[in-house]
């Protein structure tokens, strides 16, 4: 049949198509040596509720307000995903028009944004006690229909019985959640007002998983430290609580020692790829690392590994024994041999190769030339900082807010 019409567009079809293409994609992994479980254990203990893809502190409020507002409008489970997406993408535009838009999530993707702020901040919102609903974003969305009907029933009953049953239809959000400004969401920037900054600081200090953490301690004692790259270099380190100092010490030693393993892994790949520039570069970086480690050797020798693993397991019970064995073995090598010699030590190279092979099987880069080609020449070679850099940004937002003149 012949026709003349407007052309349709189906996001569903597009996604479906891309999913099928994805079935055939070449698989790749990020956590090259499987250190992620230990790294995240310390990061979660030091900076609870943060993640590496967070940008700014105000999103904690923006997401809560957005969904609180949709609940006020009684948007049901079937519609919430779409309505939420729409509200969040409109926020991108509002933020883009504002004077403080650095870190605007979705600035480039706009309506095609895959990872919405709500998904980036969902976990953190729970940890900070701003979201009281227990469960994933998807579970929350499904629960809404039931939530409204409970609220309705409870609402009637509370009139009858003088609000005795406050707990029957628990709110999904913190009871003291600060009100959004009048012009939200039409106007919106990423700058916190003083009241908002105070609210977030209180959440960090008081919410159960955060209380007592280094994040809470840092939030309580405002100090701008924009140039500090690692939390153990923080000028207030000496005044941290004993527990937090211990935690930071463990994290620091782990970060410093394992950095060498990551560098050696990249060095091996550079050599195998016949990439002389990279080989030289990684050799230099290994040497630099060796010097630093040498200078810290006294501290490493005193390091109590039993306590370290206790601390690591405290934050994450599911650390794989393979990861533990690998870290211990590398640690032994660093102690036993001069760090400067590790780059050319066969047993060190074998250890790295075996580790990758165990994690990635036939896709190990060290064995598979195709997997090696897909190496971006920089696989996890930065020193671990346990989300300090993200936390520093979020704290900076809060400190700026506390100093703000407008309430």
């Amino acid at each position: 049949m012949s026709l003349f019409t407007w052309l349709d567009y189906s996001e569903r079809d597009r996604r479906k198509m891309l999913e099928v293409v994805d079935l055939f994609k070449e698989r790749d992994t990020r956590d090259e040596l499987g250190l992620g479980s230990v790294r995240d254990s310390f990061a979660d203990q030091l900076f609870p509720g943060t993640s590496t893809i967070m940008t700014r502190a105000r999103y904690f409020l923006l997401v809560a307000w957005t969904y609180h507002d949709l609940e006020e409008k009684k948007v049901g489970s079937a519609a919430i995903a779409a309505r939420g997406r729409k509200a969040e993408t409109e926020l991108i535009e509002a933020i883009e028009r504002s004077e403080d838009k650095d870190g605007n999530i979705g600035k480039y993707a706009r309506t095609a944004l895959k990872r919405l702020p709500s998904s980036v901040y969902w976990q953190g919102l729970g940890v900070w006690g701003i979201r009281t609903f227990r469960g994933s974003l998807a579970q929350y969305q499904r629960s809404l229909d039931r939530h409204y009907s409970l609220r309705l029933r409870h609402g009637r009953r509370s009139e009858e019985r003088d609000q005795e049953h406050d707990d029957l239809a628990a709110s999904n959000w913190h009871g003291g959640l600060i009100e959004p400004p009048k012009d939200f969401p039409g106007t919106c920037s990423l700058r916190l007002s003083r009241a908002e900054a105070e609210y977030l600081r209180e959440r960090i200090r008081l919410s159960h998983p955060c209380a007592g953490s280094l994040l809470a301690e840092l939030a309580a004692n405002p100090r701008q430290v924009n140039k500090v790259d690692f939390v153990w270099e923080h000028p207030d380190f000496a005044s941290f609580s004993l527990a937090n100092r211990n935690l930071v010490n463990h994290a620091q030693v782990f970060s410093e020692i394992m950095h060498g393993a990551a560098l050696l892994y990249n060095l091996i790949l550079a050599e195998q790829s016949d990439w002389s520039e990279g080989t030289n570069d990684y050799r230099d970086r290994m040497e630099e690392w060796a010097q630093k480690v040498q200078a810290r050797m006294a501290a490493f020798e005193e390091w109590d590994r039993t306590l370290f693993w206790e601390q690591a397991h405290h934050g994450n019970l599911r650390i794989h024994p393979g990861a533990r064995d690998f870290i211990n073995a590398w640690w032994d090598l660093v102690l036993k041999h001069q760090p400067a010699k590790l780059a050319s030590l066969q047993s060190a190279r074998t250890l790295i190769g075996e580790r990758e092979r165990r994690l990635k099987k036939s896709l190990a880069r060290i064995d598979n030339p195709r997997a090696r080609e897909l190496w971006n020449r920089e696989a996890g070679s930065a020193q671990l900082e346990f989300r300090w850099v993200n936390s520093r940004r979020i704290l900076k937002d809060i400190f700026n807010g506390l100093e703000a003149s407008h309430a």
């Binding site: 012949s2 569903r12 079809d13 099928v20 293409v21 055939f24 016949d274 195709r370 971006n376």
Partner: protein, 577 residues
């Protein structure tokens, strides 16, 4: 993506859960010979992540370059040829304003179905369409394979005698195709006599609008706000009405849950329409022509003209829209001459011109990729060879290139002698990514694109190698072989119907190849009976697996014991031919 959508369409129609990636893989391989895509050279977008499936698309994509300097190949036309069971030939022609992308803009489509008639004289209204198809092979930057050239020629020849059915409300005897920019030929599609005209075009040239103003009594204009603000106010004042498309749907329209996926909202004007009233009738033009000098004087363009009653399809009717239906006309907003100008990018034009110039220089250098054995076994070197190395003297410009199978970090700066050394089999590709990095007035901008280049010296079994790399485990291999064997089924439908689904299902249950499913022998014998073509496909796949060193992992002795004698017989029958 294109062949995938064809395959998807089949799946959806059959309403059958045959969502087996292997079925898809083979469909992709099979359909590869059946379609050709012609696109402006230098305008293939760089995919964010490489998919090995792209290997099967390489032979289908042909980059073209119009003869006119500065001209762009702009048509968005599909011509599909169908052969019915009774050998009658049918055509479907789609003339769109949308590119082969996932754009979400407001675009139009004219879909025309027609049957090949046995008349000897050509239908003159079809001539531009036939000329357009005939011209495609000669516009290609790299020579088109003989088979594809013949297919284009046959289409062009047949299209002259296809009786198209035109959309309802239009007079078939007056409808026709328009093309422009082929072998220096320009067309003047809009005629001298125009009572009232409507121009819908995302891009505008002042002189084109003024030409309309001069020749007609009233001209209505619909465009993008960004384009309108570049047109002199005097010209706009000469128009009877000036509209632009509201950037987004209004709030209340969304509040109604009528539209479950706000993602599917169309945004941005990309349609190109001209409606011209003449007396009692009106012509509607739809296709690739913008109301610009470029479209009329330089580019290769294509559109259809449909003629109907003014009262049904005329300018007034279009602007009024349909009652009770929210459509395009409801989204139009009157453009005020005192409108606050949209922020524009003063450097955009300059960057665009520079990028276009650079692309052309690179393409005209005629690069080819030469593959040779690497220093280590199973690795290769890819060298870029030029007819003429582009001398990019502009100091503001940096150019780098890399095969799209490798990460961008492996890119190399442009040099007369560029090579990518020691790359794997999977990395061999004719698709070269090129990134132009330019700096104007302290601002830096990049433009990346992909070229499909001649690949010389690559192993012949590249496609099979990709299949082999994608097959995971014995069970998948067996299912794939079953698929290959059944796909050649003479009944045609067997491959796509329940029979095959059962086959695949059966194989899936026998996860271990040691228990060879009973259907395998039967299927092989049937395939043998039908002719050895599909057997050859299987044999070549098995050989490839052997070369990759994967065969011992994947092919068990059980399978070998069935396969070998049958393949012997098949070989004899091939030898006899």
């Amino acid at each position: 993506m294109l062949p995938l959508s064809f395959v998807f369409f089949d799946w959806e129609r059959q309403d059958e859960e045959l969502s087996d990636p292997l079925a898809l893989l083979e469909a992709l391989r099979l359909n590869g010979d059946r379609f050709s895509v012609f696109c402006q050279a230098g305008n293939i977008r760089l995919p964010t992540k490489y998919s090995p499936l792209v290997t099967f698309l390489e032979p289908c994509i042909h980059e073209v370059q119009p003869e006119e300097p500065g001209g762009v190949f702009h048509p968005k036309v599909w011509v599909v040829r169908y052969v019915d069971e009774d050998d009658s030939v049918k055509y479907r022609v789609l003339c769109l304003s949308r590119n082969l992308t996932f754009d979400r803009s407001w675009d139009t489509v004219v879909a025309l179905d027609g049957e090949l008639t046995d008349r000897t004289r050509a239908i003159s209204a079809n001539r531009p369409l036939a000329e357009f198809v005939e011209a495609l092979p000669n516009l290609c930057v790299h020579p088109l394979a003989a088979g594809r050239r013949r297919a284009a020629h046959r289409m062009a020849d047949e299209l002259l005698r296809v009786r198209f059915e035109w959309p309802e409300g239009f007079d078939a005897s007056e409808c026709r195709f328009w093309t422009s920019g082929l072998s220096g030929k320009r067309s003047a599609p809009f005629g001298e006599k125009r009572d009232q005209s409507l121009i819908v075009s995302p891009f505008l040239s002042d002189s084109v609008i003024r030409d309309f103003l001069m020749r007609g009594r009233a001209t209505h204009l619909v465009s993008r706000a960004e384009s309108l603000q570049d047109i002199p106010v005097d010209t706009l004042k000469g128009c009877k009405s000036v509209h632009f498309l509201r950037p987004q749907l209004s709030e209340e329209a969304i509040e109604e849950p009528r539209n479950p996926e706000p993602d599917e909202v169309l945004e941005g004007l990309h349609a190109k329409l001209f409606v011209i009233d003449r007396g009692w009738s009106a012509s509607v033009f739809s296709g690739s022509f913008n109301a610009t000098n470029h479209a009329l004087e330089r580019n290769v363009e294509f559109m259809v003209e449909m003629v109907g009653k003014k009262s049904k399809v005329g300018v007034d009717r279009f602007l009024a829209g349909e009652k009770g239906v929210t459509g395009f006309s409801d989204l139009l907003q009157i453009y005020g001459m005192d409108e606050v100008p949209m922020p524009t990018d003063p450097l955009r034009q300059e960057f665009d011109d520079l990028f276009r110039l650079l692309k052309r220089e690179v393409i005209e250098g005629r690069p080819r990729i030469i593959v040779s054995a690497g220093g280590q076994p199973a690795l290769f070197n890819m060298r870029l060879q030029w007819n003429e190395f582009p001398t990019i003297a502009d100091v503001r410009v940096r150019v780098k290139a890399w095969p799209i199978t490798l990460p961008e970090e492996r890119a190399q700066p442009f040099e007369p002698d560029m090579a990518f050394r020691e790359v794997s089999h999977e990395a061999l590709t004719p698709l070269l990514a090129i990134c132009l990095q330019c700096e104007i007035a302290g601002k830096k901008r990049e433009s990346s694109f992909v070229l499909n280049l001649p690949l010389e010296g690559a192993p012949a079994d590249r496609q099979d190698r990709v299949v082999a790399a994608l097959l995971q485990g014995k069970e998948q291999l067996l299912r794939y072989i079953l698929f290959l064997l059944a796909a050649g089924d003479g009944d045609g439908d067997a491959a796509a119907s329940g029979e095959l689904a059962t086959l695949l299902q059966g194989a899936g249950d026998a996860a271990d190849l040691a228990i060879t499913p009973p259907c395998l022998l039967e299927t092989m014998l049937r395939a043998l009976h039908r002719g050895p073509a599909q057997m050859e496909r299987v044999a070549s796949l098995l050989e490839t697996l052997q070369r990759c060193g994967k065969s011992s992992d994947l092919v068990g002795p059980e399978f070998q014991s069935i396969w070998e004698p049958i393949w012997e017989v098949a070989k004899q029958s091939i030898a006899k031919k």
